[in-house]
Symmetry: C2
Subunit: 339 residues, 2 copies
DNA sequence: ATGAAAGCGCTAACAA
DNA sequence: TTGTTAGCGCTTTCAT
């Protein structure tokens, strides 16, 4: 409509007060008479005034922008959930989040991080998709940082990771509770925080019930193709298993496929449990896949909550470390074993 | 390391020049002696100086931040590709992208947009996931805007959408070229730009070869469940079709499932083509799904290129409208019909 | 080719 | 409770 942008001076003039009073009235900081405050608010609304966050940030050293650094944000559908959680939590506080991703490249990461710092972001959320211990860029020591899906002992930062061990125990016990004894675990060959914890949890649950663990791992990676490869091994070497706990939903998809080719019915001949609760897979499979949900959205929110905690105290509060207990989502891929 | 942040003044002092000269030397704006420039650059690097983008933005009216508004960014895996494309293109120019999503809620959208404007973003990329004509928030008239996956006649903004019609013709012709004549199109009941164009393209390709169109639509939505529902209809009412072109990969997944239950083999008994080229589905299905790739990444890049074009000219250049020709990705779900 | 000075639009001290 | 005055760290005139 009007050509010129309306600034705080315009509001002050229109309300007949000083710009300081406008600033105070709108930010709720200083003491302002309620009647004055209301008038200022009304005038500001009428004029369509919105504070220039650049100017206020320059002065107050707070931009209300949080940088979210990820290694491969858009390549995995999980990442989006982390970002969404962070954004919604940020939005609740009137903050913005700017996402950069490095694709795993250290150099790019460094450049992106420099961009964020130059932009005077208030804090950094550093999320990896791979849940491996990461050695953080040193630039992060300068600024409040929260880690998601990874941790780093060399820095005093809060972090949150899914509790991999209980993912393994919960999934396995769920199968045991349904009467299964010969339960295999299909996983990837490559070691990693997410993998190793689940394997250990599976082992523990099997052993506590006196069942011997059957672990099949594939060098293929945690995809449907890897799942197929592992499934072939499984049917060759352990044709008598009645249930399988898979490293993730995609591997479970591969297992479904090989099972179908061999005339093995899920869940009547074989019960299956996955990990991720990836809608596109877990809910889409037939029968629907029972799986342990990874709390990506929640971790994103948690990270912003931690940032808020860091930012509201002048002296940095101690770092918080959390292993999030994941939830088993029941669908139709688990049944009692036959006869 | 050092406690205080290094500013332009520190660099000026260390290099023995004025801050004006530092600014000129680093930005490449004014005329500076090459030797002076080099010295400034060296000193700046040595000190680890990085300009405060808040301060420079406040003065120069350019923040180097692009706002990306989406209706449901993280709920779909496609969205991530748009964001990634935009981010990478932005990063090439030293820009940052801040992503907000409204979840389709007008009120939230308005609030988020206000946040972006208050943050003085240089431009807005407005992306919908649904590819429907959107009536844009009026706030967008104030600022350079580029539309992705949608278009709006009420505003003079550039936009890009996938060419739905040729998706339909290309997919259908591909099947026809493989010798199929009785080809069904499985789609959703709800009308929309993406859907209607594909249907029209399918019709056109069928008719140009004298084949009669067989369209099966489901009220269920474009998911595996919807695909199953449509597939049931298909097998009941048109048991003689030899090929199916599905609205998207997820529906194709549903078709695979029902086909398997009925003992119909893909591709020997039934050839299938999808749309999306969603890795998690198209590449994961067995056999791999031949599908038309939607250019989400490319559209994200394109949007930022357009923003750059808008920003470098003082007077706004005319809007550009593009229908992106999509590529067919061949996998293993198409074969010649049986004898 | 270089520098001095003015301000971008706001908030934080400080005074009144 | 309100207003005055300094800046925040940079880029931009405009001199020199």
């Amino acid at each position: 409509m009007s050509g010129k942008r309306v600034g705080i001076t315009d509001v002050a003039a229109a309300a007949g007060v000083s710009i300081t009073t406008v600033s105070h009235a709108l930010s709720g900081q200083g003491k302002v008479n309620d009647r004055t405050r209301q008038r200022v608010i009304d005038v500001a609304a009428e004029l369509g005034y919105a504070p220039n966050r650049l100017a206020s940030g320059l002065r107050s050293k707070r931009t209300g922008i949080i940088g979210l650094v990820s290694d491969e944000v858009a390549t995995t559908p999980f990442a989006g959930r982390i970002v969404l959680g962070a954004q919604e939590a940020a939005s609740d506080r009137g903050w913005l989040v700017v996402v950069v991703n490095s694709g795993g490249d250290r150099l790019i990461e460094q450049r992106q991080l420099a961009s964020l710092l130059a932009q005077q972001v208030d804090a950094i959320v550093y999320a990896t998709m791979s849940h491996r211990p990461s050695s953080l860029p040193t630039a992060l020591r300068t600024i409040p940082t929260v880690l998601v899906n990874t941790h780093d002992e060399s820095i005093d930062a809060s972090w949150i990771v899914p509790d991999s061990f209980t993912i393994g125990t919960d999934a396995t016990r769920h199968l045991i509770e349904h009467g299964h004894e010969r339960i295999a675990h299909l996983t990837i060959a490559e070691s990693g925080l997410g993998r190793d914890g689940r394997v250990a949890g599976y082992r523990a649950a099997m052993e506590e019930h006196g069942h011997s663990p059957i672990i099949v791992s594939t060098p293929e990676g945690a995809t449907a193709v890897g799942g197929r490869e592992a499934a072939e091994q499984l049917f060759e070497r352990h044709p008598d298993v009645t249930a399988a706990f898979c490293f993730n939903d995609q591997m479970a998809m591969g297992l479904y496929q090989v099972a179908a080719l061999r005339g093995v019915q899920v869940p009547d001949d074989l019960s299956v449990v996955g990990v991720d609760n990836l809608d596109l897979v877990a809910a889409a499979l037939l029968p629907g896949l029972t799986t342990v949900a990874l709390p990506h959205y929640e971790m994103g929110r948690w990270a912003i909550d931690q940032v808020a905690r860091l930012l509201e105290h002048e002296d940095p509060p101690p770092a918080v470390h959390e292993r999030y207990r994941c939830e088993l989502i029941e669908r139709d891929s688990v049944a009692r074993p036959r006869g």
